[in-house]
Symmetry: C2
Subunit: 275 residues, 2 copies
Amino acid sequence: MICSIVGLGLMGGSFGLAMRDYFDEIIGIDHNKKHCEDALSLGLVDKIGEFRDIEKSDVVILAIPIKGIISSLKKISELNIKDTLTIIDFGSTKESIIKNCPKNIRKNLVASHPMAGTEYSGPNAAIADLYTNKVMVVCNIEDSGQIQRRVAIDIFNKLKMHIKYMDACEHDRHAAFISHMPHIVSFSIANAVLKQEDKEHIVALAAGGFKDMSRLAKSNPHMWKDIFSENKKNLLDSIEAFKSELKKAKEMIENDKWDELEEWMKTGNNLHKIM
Amino acid sequence: MICSIVGLGLMGGSFGLAMRDYFDEIIGIDHNKKHCEDALSLGLVDKIGEFRDIEKSDVVILAIPIKGIISSLKKISELNIKDTLTIIDFGSTKESIIKNCPKNIRKNLVASHPMAGTEYSGPNAAIADLYTNKVMVVCNIEDSGQIQRRVAIDIFNKLKMHIKYMDACEHDRHAAFISHMPHIVSFSIANAVLKQEDKEHIVALAAGGFKDMSRLAKSNPHMWKDIFSENKKNLLDSIEAFKSELKKAKEMIENDKWDELEEWMKTGNNLHKIM
């Protein structure tokens, strides 16, 4: 089987690294020439190709921002692809991708979201075990073709991933609460602290807790702008839900309701019984 | 030298474990009988004693909540202690402790805040290298006696800690921004997600980012209630500063100002140039 990977950053690069032995050939495709050179010299792909190489591929991985996935699907729908082609996209929101997928290739698409990543980006950040033991959410699988389902599941099994099936709209709402809102919060902490504090005191006083809470603020702004805009409504809902808890806490602090605050914190402790 | 440790939880227990060879004897003191038994069987202390044993001690570590530190200082001031006794408190806020320290033992006190910890508590959480390579903030050192300064610095060096000197009021303000507010934020995320999401979806979608952002919400509510109430004003200021950044982000999202949002995130990225 020939696999094309569109986007040779952390996600696409790590996929290539993990799957070199599985495919007969992995072709890397990326607008960024430096990424292509790096991916080749790091051994993430067998060769660098162009978008038209998707015509001879059996599998294509779209590991690019959401808007790029949508325009790539449109371009693929105009190519002379194999009927059995399996297109797997790694977009962090799923509804807009599925909605914008041209009808003639809808059965080729297996809309997926790997719950994996690091705060680093680019081919140099690629690691072979990025996907190992992580969850792969697959959305609206009933609209993918039989062959494509089987090919995608084989690949995810090979990556040692745990597959969860989900409706795309539900996925986007859950992802807002569990992933997207926490990113906005982390960036807010980073910006608040940078405005108030100098380097010396941050370095002196930042123990593990602060490092954890600000780690997501290392994330790639260009990529996250795209995710936030595609999931705007759910994101705003999740920010509201967060703000409502913060408001509660603030009012208890202002009004010296320390025992109530303690109970509120105990409720928060419950999260870790299920994680 | 004889050392008494008041409070045999994570902080006091880890101190005992790391310093067993340094002192001739370490006496553990704790209201909680189970903690005493555990500390003894885990080898965190040489023996269990009572508060009056501070009279024969050369060093006393107060590793208990802030209100407990303040009442312990009052009790110590009424004991027949050695003139050279060095009292080291590990309180997370410093101004109220120093303000409430009885004058007759002010020179004995070296007000300290170790920037170390985990989300776990109790003697079973004690680890020998908790303090290694961490920062120890020492406040208003000019009001501690010469002997006490020397003894405390020797101990912190033995623990391989980096000592930073700071004014107590400044410490409390910095700690609010860099430690206390992030705890409130983490509890707010935990509570918001628990209300909106079921166990299945949290487990499926929680990748590393969410785990980081909610880890502080494992913290001990009783202890943190105490810290928050002692640092109320600074905490409220830091929550306001955070809220103002969150508000900015929310407005940019509502108004589709994606390029501005990207710039705001890029500013947040800067934090990691200094950390």
